[in-house]
Amino acid sequence: MTYLKAAPFMIVMAMMAGTTTVSAQEAPQATTLITEQAADSPWLKVYFSSGSATIAPDQAATLDRAVRTFREGDPFVMIVAGSADKVGDPSTNLELSLRRASVVAAALTNRGIPIDRLQVLGRGTSELKVATGDGVPEEENRVVEISWR
């Protein structure tokens, strides 16, 4: 719990296969940086069942939709951020959110997105869409959001 307050989210960079990493420090220094937010589009949110880090068949369409907006060009970074609702132990939820983000990242690379374009984040329960008390199941919080910059 203390750890979570100190480090609200965990960044794992190109964690799969340990290839080229992309770090936040390498992000473009543009003054007009715009991020295509997942919140703007239901196609860019992958929902999960409670306690699960498995992509349901009906969520695969979301992933297909996401790759249909990802253009070619070197520094495009796709951010894959997982979260969990507040059912269960916080440290377990942090780990669960990261696993969710990782399976989504793997599904994206399976669809042809280069692995070195991906930033994979587990936010645990630190930046929830819907604020709830502990132990409250909330679908909107069991998501992986895909965004760009």
Partner: protein, 362 residues
């Protein structure tokens, strides 16, 4: 040691840090010096570099060098795409597909995904497969989805994992809907789409010229596009797309296309005459001229096909049911008994739109 240090200092002062690596826009871009990248890429683009145009599109697309501008990005991508750069064609497709800076246009997305896909762009092939799989803004077509997923399968695992059941009704023939075409002088690029009921077997026929001496070449595919970049085609070439039936006994073809399509033939007729029969050869010459003036392309060969008993036979061959009417029409012109000149459909050699008339002594 001091001399060495001095020499090193002088050398370094003559070579400002980073300048060696910014000879090109791509170098500057890789160092995230976007202003320099923009300046250099503009020079390179003015000299005709498609890669530089793609880079300028990227700068505008992401707002790296100035404020983000989809319209400017699209214009640069389009210039690179028109030069044949698959990555730029793919980006144009995505902007149409996702409706970025413009209304979504699924048909244009199909065109540009296909242009990139024909150049071997795996993600374009996959995205095109997705569009055909779900029919998002276009007619779903399982056969075309499967074709493009198969093309992408070696590099896109999700494409390899797709198990698309072939459409159970691909028995019809109809002419494909042409979406894009650029024919000649050194490239042939044609893109079409088809309904699910059409048998997935297409032949692009190109006649390199507008008369009956024109060489004809054909390319077959089960997909929805053709790219030939190793050809020389005259501006007078005419072409069409043929959809073959599953049993290869029938077809449907688009009208002939091309600037000279008003001189396209009603059909092509080959007369095979035994030159040991000079009277017959003379008659056929007159008959051929008559047919030409009626809009047919006619060629003459002087080696008759022989029957099983090695006696000259008279027969009319057509390859496809769609050409039976033409064969019957010609049959009525021929002298001799109807039995002798009854059209027959062989299983090979005769092309769509063609009949072969073998004439023996009558």
């Amino acid at each position: 040691m001091q001399y060495l240090a001095l020499a090193l200092t002088v050398a370094l002062s003559l070579c400002p840090a980073g300048s060696w690596a910014q000879a090109t826009g791509a170098d500057a871009f890789s160092q995230r010096d976007f202003a320099t990248a923009q300046r250099l890429w503009q020079q390179e683009a003015a000299a005709g570099s498609a890669d530089a145009m793609l880079g300028l599109g990227l700068l505008a697309d992401r707002g790296y060098a100035a404020s983000r501008d989809f319209a400017v990005a699209f214009d640069w991508y389009l210039q690179a795409a028109e030069m044949g750069l698959a990555e730029a064609q793919f980006n144009i497709a995505v902007m149409y597909d996702a409706g970025l800076g413009r209304d979504r246009d699924a048909v244009q997305a199909v065109v540009w995904y296909t242009r990139a896909a024909l150049r071997g762009h795996p993600r374009a092939q996959y995205n095109l497969g997705l569009l055909y799989e779900i029919g998002d803004g276009i007619d779903a077509n399982a056969n075309l989805a499967g074709y493009w997923f198969h093309k992408a399968a070696s590099t896109v695992p999700a494409a390899a994992a797709k198990t698309i059941a072939p459409d159970p009704r691909p028995t019809n023939v109809a002419f494909p809907n042409i979406l894009f075409a650029r024919v000649g002088p050194t490239t042939v690029e044609i893109i079409w789409t088809a309904t699910p009921a059409m048998n997935p077997s297409y032949v692009v026929e190109i006649m390199d010229g507008a008369d009956d001496e024109a060489p004809v070449f054909r390319r077959a595919t089960q997909g929805s596009g053709l790219l030939l970049d190793d050809v020389t085609v005259q501006t007078t070439a005419i072409w069409r797309i043929v959809n073959l039936s599953a049993d290869a006994a029938d077809y449907a073809a688009t009208p002939w296309q091309g600037f000279a399509n008003d001189s396209a033939p009603k059909g092509r007729i080959t007369f095979v005459v035994d030159d040991a029969l000079p009277q017959m050869a003379a008659a056929v010459t007159i008959f051929a001229d008559d047919l030409r003036s009626s809009g047919y392309w006619v060629t003459l060969r002087n080696t008759p096909l022989r029957g099983t008993d090695d006696k000259p036979e008279t027969f009319i061959s057509y390859g496809f049911a769609a050409d039976k009417t033409m064969a019957e029409t010609v049959s009525r012109y021929l002298p001799g008994s109807p039995d002798q000149s009854r059209p027959a459909q062989p299983t090979d050699t005769v092309q769509p739109g063609e009949i072969v008339v073998n004439l023996a002594a009558l």
